[in-house]
């Protein structure tokens, strides 16, 4: 598996540290209900197919990267930097409703 870092280009998977589902980028507000924190920390859709997760380019540029990939085929579909991504707050609100 090779992952394309938006800054460094395509690199060996070993350069990256896997952090988990991209939901980790949408931290609830400090005063959010305990259920929102359980949802954020523990509960997962765990899809067989397309998923988005966070990888850290530990042995490269140290950027946090949101990777869109297929969990069945290991195909990497898209990558982008977590920093500066749009729609972050809107996504967090939407997720709160879902919970």
């Amino acid at each position: 598996m090779r992952i394309t870092c938006p800054l460094c280009g395509e690199r060996d998977r070993r350069e990256f540290y896997y952090y988990g589902d991209a939901v980790y980028a949408d931290r609830p507000a400090a005063d959010a209900a305990p259920e929102a924190w359980d949802d954020y920390l523990h509960l997962r859709d765990n899809p067989a197919g397309e998923t988005r997760d966070l990888w850290y380019h530990e042995m490269g540029c140290a950027a946090w990267i949101e990777v869109t990939r297929n969990t069945v085929t290991h195909e990497i579909l898209a990558t982008r930097l977590v920093a500066g991504r749009e729609g972050k707050k809107a996504a967090a609100k939407g997720r709160g409703k879902k919970a």
Partner: protein, 416 residues
């Protein structure tokens, strides 16, 4: 049909023409009292103990493929009771005791071999931790012996005792630990359940779970709708998808664990050897193949195959520990889909839906748990109460903070 040595002998005399299928292949009925989703080790043992311990026999086990075709048919077959935390200890202790009587119980040769398991340690601190673990095991009523370096050498003379990266200080010997024949466990439970009237229905994939007024009423399958008052989800790596049919999200992320088998060799490794610092463990199967594995690939995946970096890591660890295996040829490798929980411990619990139960989150340690998991899940489904050795395996423990973090590494999805 009862199996015996005499039977094997007489069948051999007459061309083995008298053997009959070990279980029926029934059509699904329209309704059962209880449905078990998943015909793997845990699902089959649950069905067996529902019938055996609780007298419930109007049960169907629904399997989307063939019986025992998932992780129970592909694993490294280690059976042990060397856990440390209260909550895990009594459960795995119970499981090992069930293993010790399993062949007589099932009238089936599961090839349970208590060849001894040695966990190596490589520093003073690690020795202290293993001494403490050993004491905990003894307090639980199981066995443990702390070996020094020379003690390890007597058991495992072929290790590289000169290597300097992880010098071998000693090991924790668990004599009752060992291996078993993975397929046979599934087949033995399947046969035992079938003999007690359980319908084992293969090629029957569950596509939906019917819920009315907060209670489960049955399931939709590729072979039609089947009603049931109680449903148990026991589907390992696929737990997330099946739970989603009931509108649930689980504290589970599915990961790959790879394992490897070499060509058959003459007996050379008598024990199960675990080299935690290298994330490597090994035993030798009865066919002679060296069976070994390492750690997770460490990313969510359903691919049932891993990536090369972990293959390389496992081979390097094996060569560090026992260079003698370097000329053995690897015949095959595979990747299993592991249902990983944030704290690395399993779940056997009710759900918020009435009559719907779940047994999942076995991480990479489900094989040894097959007997006790079935025993406790059957107890829960029959009585509505958690079995005393599985009372900590709560679905809500992540929300309440009553974690079972055996490794002590934290409760987060990428840590176990």
């Amino acid at each position: 049909m009862r199996y015996s040595g005499l039977r094997v002998f007489t069948e051999g005399l007459f061309g083995n023409k008298g053997w009959k299928p070990a279980w029926r292949d029934p059509e699904p009925k329209r309704e059962y009292d209880t449905i078990i989703i998943g015909g793997g080790g845990h699902g089959l043992s649950t069905a067996y103990y529902l019938a055996k311990n609780h007298g419930l026999t109007n049960i169907a086990v629904l399997e989307k493929g063939y019986l025992g075709g998932g992780n129970v048919g592909r694993n490294t077959t280690i059976v042990r009771a060397n856990y440390f935390l209260p909550g895990n200890q009594e459960f795995y202790s119970h499981s090992l005791k069930l293993w010790e009587g399993l062949e007589a119980e099932l009238n089936y040769n599961v090839m349970h071999s208590q060849r001894g398991l040695i966990n190596l340690f490589h520093s003073d601190g690690q020795r202290d931790a293993f001494a403490r673990r050993g004491n905990a095991m003894i307090n639980q009523g199981d066995d443990a012996e702390l070996l020094d370096r020379e003690g390890v050498r007597r058991h495992l003379p072929y290790l590289d005792f000169e290597q300097t990266r992880f010098p071998i200080y000693g090991g924790l010997l668990h004599r009752r630990g060992g291996t078993a024949r993975h397929d046979a466990v599934a087949w033995g439970y399947a046969r035992g359940a079938d003999q007690r009237g359980v319908d084992l229905i293969q090629n029957c994939e569950v596509t939906g779970i019917d819920i009315k007024d907060g209670r489960v009423t049955g399931v939709q399958t590729t072979r039609g709708a089947i009603k049931a008052k109680k449903v148990g989800i026991i589907v390992a790596g696929r737990s997330g998808q099946v739970a989603a049919m009931a509108g649930m999200r689980l504290p589970i992320e599915s990961h790959i664990l790879q394992a490897f088998v070499t060509e058959g060799l003459k007996p050379v490794i008598d024990h199960v050897v675990s080299f935690g610092m290298g994330h490597f463990y090994i035993s030798q199967s009865d066919k002679g193949g060296l069976v070994f594995g390492g750690d997770l690939d460490f990313y969510a995946s359903y691919a049932a195959r891993g990536n090369l970096p972990m293959v390389e890591h496992v081979m390097e660890a094996g060569m560090t520990l026992m260079p003698m295996i370097g000329k053995a040829k690897v015949l095959r490798s595979w990747g299993g889909i592991m249902d990983m929980t944030p704290d690395g411990s399993p779940i056997i619990d009710k759900t918020d839906v009435g009559g719907l139960y779940i047994d999942c989150g076995w991480n990479y340690g489900g094989f040894k748990a097959v007997p006790a998991s079935g025993w406790c899940m059957a107890h829960l489904m029959a009585t509505g109460e958690s079995h005393e050795v599985a009372r900590r395996y709560r679905l809500d423990r992540f929300a309440t903070g009553r974690l079972l973090d055996e490794e002590g590494t934290g409760s987060q999805h990428n840590l176990h």
